[in-house]
């Protein structure tokens, strides 16, 4: 019945790796170049309504997922983060908030230990540290799509984020950064849209410092059969409708739900990350596997 079934095309075995010139764009079969272009157009089209749509589709839960990612990262002040496919800045802003609050606690603890200082000395030390509210932490937001970056920059301005934040136009498969540069590399809901996942993982490995951490937050496979059916029903029946009503764009959101089905499941992605050279690769399922956080270290 049309209600529960999605289009007759069975899931093609083509996954992230380019198996010859034929690739998947959702359930369609396209060439590598076509895929890149189509995906670019999808995000160009949805950029302005991206955040609204995320909230509507996930009923705001995507915020919790991103918070969990940040807690897992647990960055300390002085961390240099590269957020790839970071478009509208959700991860970057959370990072800044996190290190700021850690820094504040650090400063408070320092002050407590300076009980025997004079008022003058305490005031001076406070002044010195005030200009370092981030503790030299920095985040570089890298995205391939100009429109998404534009929205991100506007958001940053609107919310008052300026310190420690940079915006770079770049391709995850070929990053415009030197080797061994970053402490942490994140890619949240972006790796699914990369055409050559293996290249993106290799690039991630390259730009991380030794000891650096790779973190990937992405939609994944729900193994529970009942939940899986409900999830499919919601994905295929409701989400494109939301896309049409809220963003006036059915097709982009149809692509989105299809691309989730085409993406490698947890174990397969773990293997791919290991192939790129990462160690201690692990994953954590959120919401029964609707979303998963994969983590690895460059040693």
């Amino acid at each position: 019945r049309a209600l529960l079934s999605r289009p007759a095309a069975a899931l093609r075995p083509l996954r992230g790796l380019a198996a010859g010139p034929e690739m998947h764009f959702g359930f369609q079969s396209v060439t590598e170049e076509e895929r890149r272009e189509k995906i670019y157009q999808v995000f160009e089209s949805v950029a302005k309504k991206y955040d609204v749509m995320n909230d509507s589709m996930t009923l705001g839960i995507h915020r919790v997922w991103k918070d969990i990612l940040m807690h897992k990262m647990n960055p300390s002040p002085g961390t240099l983060l590269l957020d790839v496919a970071g478009g509208t800045g959700d991860i970057a802003f959370r990072f800044i908030n996190y290190v700021r609050s850690v820094r504040e606690r650090q400063l408070q603890r320092k002050l407590k230990h300076h009980q025997n200082l004079s008022w003058q000395e305490i005031f001076e030390s406070y002044q010195k540290d005030k200009f370092n509210s981030l503790g030299d932490s920095q985040v570089v937001v890298c995205d391939i799509n100009r429109e998404m970056l534009k929205v991100g920059k506007q958001k940053a301005q609107h919310l008052g984020y300026s310190e420690g934040l940079s915006w770079v136009l770049g391709n995850a498969e070929e990053l415009p950064f030197d080797d061994d540069k970053f402490d942490v590399y994140t890619i949240a809901f972006g790796i699914r849209n990369v055409t050559r996942i293996d290249l993106a993982l290799q690039e991630a490995y390259r730009v991380l410092k030794p000891g650096g951490r790779f973190l990937c937050l992405e939609f994944s496979r729900v193994s529970n059969p009942l939940l899986s059916r409900l999830y499919d029903l919601y994905s295929f029946q409701v989400i494109p409708v939301l896309g049409e009503v809220i963003a006036g764009d059915w097709r982009s959101y149809q692509y989105l739900v299809e691309s989730i089905r085409q993406f490698p499941p947890q174990e397969e992605l773990k293997a791919m990350i290991e192939d790129a050279g990462f160690f201690k690769v692990d994953y954590e399922n959120l919401n029964f596997g609707i979303v998963a956080i994969h983590s690895g270290f460059k040693l």
């Binding site: 209600l3 289009p7 095309a9 359930f27 369609q28 029946q237 409701v238 409708v241 049409e244 006036g248």
Partner: protein, 233 residues
């Protein structure tokens, strides 16, 4: 065959998005809510029309089939677009003629016939044309009824169209459109305009059965009489 496989079932016309009944129901509800919330979302009004027109559209199509001019339109599938209209010629026609008044209407209200949305959610190729024809003819309705494109004028035209076509979208638009009008306008609406629109709508023959492209020279008054539209107040 790859192209068809990708959607699972056929795309019947360019721009067609096949939808399940559940999706149509959700779309109808969502588009109605969004159209009320943000009246500038004309695309939502269009979607509402497509998802709720499953009874009215076949009805309209049959009316057209059973009328010689309507049948002709269904066969030839004319489109009212800037590319198919000879604007210079229409402007040169005498005042009072359909063509001249139509162009005047477009200029005065700063609208263009090319802003009509193509249907997406109608699952029948012929019905998709019918709803597209209804959209393209809408500006001519304004001309025939002498109504401008402000909120008041649109509501009046919607009342007329609701009677004429039976499309639920028109009925909803006619019923909920007045919500955003001032009391003074509502008074005019209720006492003069709507009764006139209803009378004309009931009296007139089906407006989709007129091959407008062949009648540009005809005076508007004469066309009104022929159709059975009473003179505007």
């Amino acid at each position: 065959e790859e192209e068809e496989e990708e959607e699972g079932w056929h795309r019947l016309y360019p721009g067609h998005i096949p939808t399940s009944s559940l999706q149509k129901a959700l779309l109808a509800a969502g588009s109605a809510a969004m159209a009320l919330y943000d009246p500038y979302r004309h695309d939502m009004v269009a979607v509402l029309g497509e998802t709720t027109g499953c009874l009215a559209l076949p009805n309209l199509r049959d009316k057209m089939k059973n009328h010689p001019e309507g049948y002709c339109i269904l066969q030839e599938r004319p489109h009212i677009r800037l590319s198919t209209l000879d604007m210079a010629r229409l402007q040169g026609l005498p005042d009072g003629s359909l063509g001249r008044e139509y162009v005047r209407f477009l200029e005065d209200n700063k609208v263009s016939p090319d802003t009509r949305m193509l249907p997406k959610f109608v699952d029948d190729e012929e019905l998709a044309y019918v709803i597209l024809r209804y959209r393209e003819v809408h500006d001519l309705m304004h001309t025939l009824l002498g109504m401008p494109t402000n909120m008041l004028g649109e509501v009046v035209v919607k009342w007329f169209e609701a009677i004429q076509t039976g499309l639920p979208m028109c009925v909803l638009g006619a019923a909920f459109g007045p919500i955003r009008l001032s009391t003074r306008k509502l008074q005019v609406l209720a006492t003069e305009l709507v009764p006139w629109a209803i009378r004309s709508g009931l009296n007139a023959s089906c407006v989709l059965n007129v091959y407008y492209e062949q009648r540009w020279e005809q005076p508007v008054e004469s066309l009104r009489e022929e159709l059975g539209i009473f003179p505007p107040p």
